[in-house]
Symmetry: D2
């Protein structure tokens, strides 16, 4: 049977991507292989800058790092025909199947990027045991986007194989840089979902167990990602401390006070100073500090409240230590709510799939953030429907953990449920 073969193909893809993880905007090898595969299946492709608006890419890497990565991709199995389209770090793909028959336009979003995590070398860690552990130090698919990309290719395969049964138009969107919520907005601003009637984003895991499926996950928080820099004045800490303007102290006091931002009576807030790097020598009054900060809110309004407090705090801290400062927005996502009608159809598709023992219509638990919400908002604003679903799976460890791993048995059901959804909407 076709799908038995597809099941093993899904695992192959997922393991290949797992072995060669690429972080946001660096997904050159991944995208080149995805593009070549989709091309072969017969999809019409739009690539790189054609599907990404440069003005809305946030937190892009330096030219130098991109150039280095091109070399790595070449040396590590990138498809050389397609690599050139992605070498500047615009690694998005939109693959369209035009049935030629009347019908709706349905789009699926899959994200492709990995994380800056050093994958576990523990023996019993499955990717290690089975030989597909990350080959790149400090890079790891620890969130499951390798699985997402594989599911996307699996769905593409089913569409191409069964295209005669389908109507309307199907778009598969492979998005870069979901981590840091940096990539989606640029694809929305390149109008890739302008014509979309139904939009489905998905994630594997997130605490939903194997055999469970959530048709509409609405707990995403609006978020802003900020790089905050303080610049003071260096001075010898022993001989002339009073001539310094201490950027590390400005950053430390800003940090303390950011965490003190008021909780909000209208909903959930979060603030995190994920990284601080400051100073250039033990005996020098630090003249530089970088904070990597994120704010979140249950609604975009609440997130804005937190962000505004961050801004006041940073300004105040700079004032205290006579520092210059800069607040740079390097990622942003909004909150969003799935369309109930589409969610219900998806819920039923999952419900009747033999592997799903518990199909759930809606979940509102607070979760992380997702920039797929930009796609959802754009589709909904034009009168279309959108949902964000969760494919349950057994996790070896939590997302972003060095021992993260999924149960690969959840890949094929995801593909089949999505294919079923296309049929039902058609």
């Amino acid at each position: 049977m076709v799908n038995e073969h597809l099941a093993s193909r899904l695992i192959q893809w997922r393991r290949d991507f797992h072995k060669y993880p690429e972080t946001g905007f660096f997904e050159m090898r991944t995208a080149s292989i995805v593009a070549a595969t989709l091309d072969k299946l017969g999809f019409a492709l739009q690539l790189g800058k054609d599907v990404m608006n440069k003005n809305y890419c946030m937190g892009r890497p330096s030219e130098e790092h991109l150039a280095e990565h091109v070399k790595w991709a070449k040396a590590n199995g990138a498809n050389l025909d397609y690599l050139p389209f992605f070498e500047e770090g615009y690694t998005g793909i939109v693959a369209t199947w035009e049935t030629g028959r009347k019908g709706p336009t349905i789009a699926f979003r899959f994200d492709m990027d990995a994380l800056a995590i050093y994958e576990s070398e523990e023996e019993k860690h499955v990717p290690n045991k089975e030989g597909f552990r990350s080959t790149v130090p400090n890079r790891m698919h620890a969130c499951g986007h390798d699985a997402h990309t594989a599911i996307g290719l699996g769905l593409a395969t089913m569409i191409a194989t069964n295209h005669k049964n389908l109507n309307g138009k199907i778009k598969l969107i492979f998005q870069p840089a979901e981590e840091g919520v940096r990539g989606a907005k640029s694809m929305v601003k390149a109008n890739v979902v302008e014509d979309v009637d139904y939009f489905i984003a998905s994630h594997i895991g997130t605490g939903v167990p194997q055999g469970h499926f959530v048709a509409s996950n609405n707990g995403f928080l609006a978020t802003s990602k900020l790089d905050i820099t303080f610049r003071g004045r260096a001075s010898h800490a022993g001989a002339k401390p009073e001539e310094g303007r201490n950027a590390l102290l400005a950053a430390a006091t800003a940090t303390m006070n950011m965490y003190a931002i008021s909780r909000h009576s209208s909903g959930i807030t979060r603030v995190n100073v994920g990284e601080m790097h400051a100073g250039s020598g033990r005996n020098i009054i630090p003249d530089f500090a970088l904070l990597k900060v994120e704010t979140r809110g249950e609604s975009s309004e609440i997130n804005d409240f937190v962000k505004e407090q961050v801004e006041a705090i940073v300004e105040g801290a700079a004032k205290m230590y006579q520092n210059e400062y800069e607040i740079k927005l390097v990622g942003e996502a909004i909150s969003c709510k799935g369309s109930t009608d589409l969610a219900k159809i998806l819920y039923h598709c999952a419900e009747r799939h033999p592997s799903i023992e518990n199909s759930i219509l809606e979940s509102n638990d607070p979760a992380g953030s997702e920039d797929a919400t930009y796609f959802m908002e754009a589709v909904q604003q034009k009168g279309g429907q959108a949902t964000y679903c969760i494919i349950g799976t057994d996790l070896a460890a939590g997302h972003h953990n060095e021992k993260f791993d999924i149960n690969e048995q959840s890949l094929l059901p995801a593909v089949e449920i999505f294919y079923d959804l296309i049929l039902r909407i058609n």
Copy 2:
């Protein structure tokens, strides 16, 4: 012998003042008794507003508190003839002895104020045992100004008794509100030392042992006393925390950062947030905070550096929490250096006094602050000489401690040394 009688008179005075302590600008009972005594001895008196420039009194009490204290003074033995001169809280006295003979003008400064300390009730605490413990809760002569005032009256007695041996003019200055360095500047600005050729300020104790005498103590730090208030916005901490503007947090972060003000390569600095009072209820976002702050510096320049940092920090903290703020200067003293020639004469007077086993010309150890430095600077700027001397004594406990007590045997020698100094300068 006269001085035996004087010795016991000194102890009487000191114990009376000790029993009825009055804090800065409230020295109404004390001043009324001092004035009456000096009047009786034959000194010419200038009182209250005649010797204090209202524009330079810092940190004055409220009219309400002053009015209350008048009642207390009346009920507790104030001299009713002189009390009226001091009822508005201008409690300074200048007593002049004009010999009519040619000669220099010599001035001595004695301070009269007590502290807001609850005196020890321990049995073995001498003032308790001997029945002259403070009668006022939370008021105590814990710095020795009761002794200073007594020494001033003792010196006055010797001058009056022996006036035929003296030349020139002698001025005895009884200053209010030395604690908090609030009173001296207003007397200087009322020109009370304009005509002074030699100026001597003194302190008992300060770590100098019984039988020792320091002719010139130069370790006083320049200082500023600041009352800093933050005003934010209250809100219910459970229901609407985000509507508050937290003044307590502004004050706490200002405090943390004030202590982080850089040490200075040119000399000693100090900063202290001695008190914080903030908020009006456990479940209310605090809308008010008061900080009682002092800065110090080895020189006035260094103190200014610290003060400017405090100002930047307060502005920054207010910014962070969208608070209003106010910084009020409620006390200030400069640094100063004694005149060597005058110090040498005083050194010799002490050296030949039978009770002094160790006369020291000069000490430069950092100490607290003193607003007698304003008198010193004024006298020196006009070409006069000034010094600040220390009369050693055994202390039962450190200054400002609830068990502070002096050895009363050090009172008479101080009077005799000062009298000897007058003779020598004459």
Copy 3:
């Protein structure tokens, strides 16, 4: 008609209580009048320590303050027959009407305490204009408990007047010290609701407009009220700063870090440092600091999480500055959920009252905290039903604001709805 007369009686009561506000455990005048009134109406009374378990009173005032207040109460219209029952500061009352007929036991809780707020002197502030402004400086009924007490007496009046129509038993509980969530637990632990089948607590205002009524308000947060003290060592800030152990700095850093306690993914949290009082003099290293803190959580578990973090932070801050510390629990409340069946009956009573234009079954908005939740939990644990309802009213300013005032037209409807509820449950 009776109820017209009752309407004006309600206003009289409320204004009288408003004019003589008493804070928690000091409600001696109030309780004496309430008891006398209930007695006259024919209720059986249990008073003071008979309805309050001493071991569970939190944050009680000092004997000295209580004794002073007895004098005040005598001088300000307390009922002298009943005052003696309350003079030790156990000011709770349970008034029971036993119909002698079979039927359920229904209890209503009314709280009586005022706040430490200085009531507005603005001319247009109604209590000022109408002559019932607080006669006590810094004391004010700014939360509406004056109205609650009046409603309780109004309901008592209707019960007494119409007792022949009633069955079962009705208990009116007048609780002290709801502010600071200090009083309820002691009444629960004195078993006053042991026999209760239906329990109704209520509050006026809280943002619900005039003419609206919420039958079941479930947004109360679990909370702990903590008095935290740090004790360090004093030292002269200029002369010997290194000998101090700074309690104010310990408290300030504890404060900063308490606000940094992590948000919780399972629900709402709050932390507030409502007051700080530290230090005893500008030039002294502070040896003492008091923080008035409260934590809250959407569930008791979440509140415990926050409280445990507070404890670790306080311990760490004391460590930093070699301070001693104490954490004293002075108030506590749990979260609770109203019983749906009882809420539905109450909802219908409100719905059919002519003055209510909008009766709402349930509200889950996060609000402050309430120790009525202890009564609710106790009743529900025994199989009874409980609800917490909100009587809408126009507010002149928010709760705990110096210009707080209610619309007195909301008093009679509240009484009538509660009476109707008794009839319906009967």
Copy 4:
């Protein structure tokens, strides 16, 4: 004349070292050239581990970095005969000239290490203009140790040339890793100054102008260099913040409180958190933080006071956030006072040198720290004499600044004064 040739040789050496800067314990190229030169001049050499006690080397680099640097040294002109002695990172040299004649043992200390600073690329920066700017990114002789090493070789040359005029024994000590005060102690503990009667350490610049010379500089502060790490627990900052244990917050609050360590009445203190590196991703609760800290004190006792406070603060901060922590001592120096007799001789040598217009016996201004103080203490403890002198020079910019440069005209006078000193002591 010989010394004209030596003047240009000094400049050559200094520029060569400037062009190939090596940081502490990496001075392999430098040491290999120094050793080869001294060998050729006829000195007896002790090298590497023979003059460094491994147990007292602080803050040593990793084996990996050392191995890498060996390659660099080979490729950049190291003397291949001597390089092997230094490849493990023990880069000290003691060169002895034994005259064979009776007389004292005189030792000079020269330090060789550079800093991690990116040298200015400005055109007018002399090393750039003259072609001897650092060839290594982020490495620079910005403190003048290139000049010190050149002076050492110059002095060696004069000794070798004129050895017939000399008596006793002369030891030239070339020390690694003075920056971070890491290298001296290990040489002292290898007993290299055990036999020394007179010890002279020196520094160029430090604010002393060209043509000035300070024979005894005593302002060095005792210091401790600490690497402090906090280890907490990572967690997703959006989804499960409460499961994290925030190491960055622990480090930030430790930082704030370290700066709040009390000033000390006995003398100067310093504390600096020169670097913070914390966290591993914006959306992860940081589980790691590193602080690079230094404390200083006017005496070793005062420095110990500050260090103990740091320890208490770090422990408290770890407690607050349930972190593990480690405090690692990576450098240490004591305070010291020069021997007056030796200083006087040196003062006269400088005074009579034609280039010196202002010879100063003693300076006590607070400066940075120096581990030459360990040599000084060791020599003085055995009854020898020691001094630390300053060779004035024009500076293009302050020490540790990217535009730092010296006036090379100060090199030859330094050599000649030192040679003169040998003659005088002889």
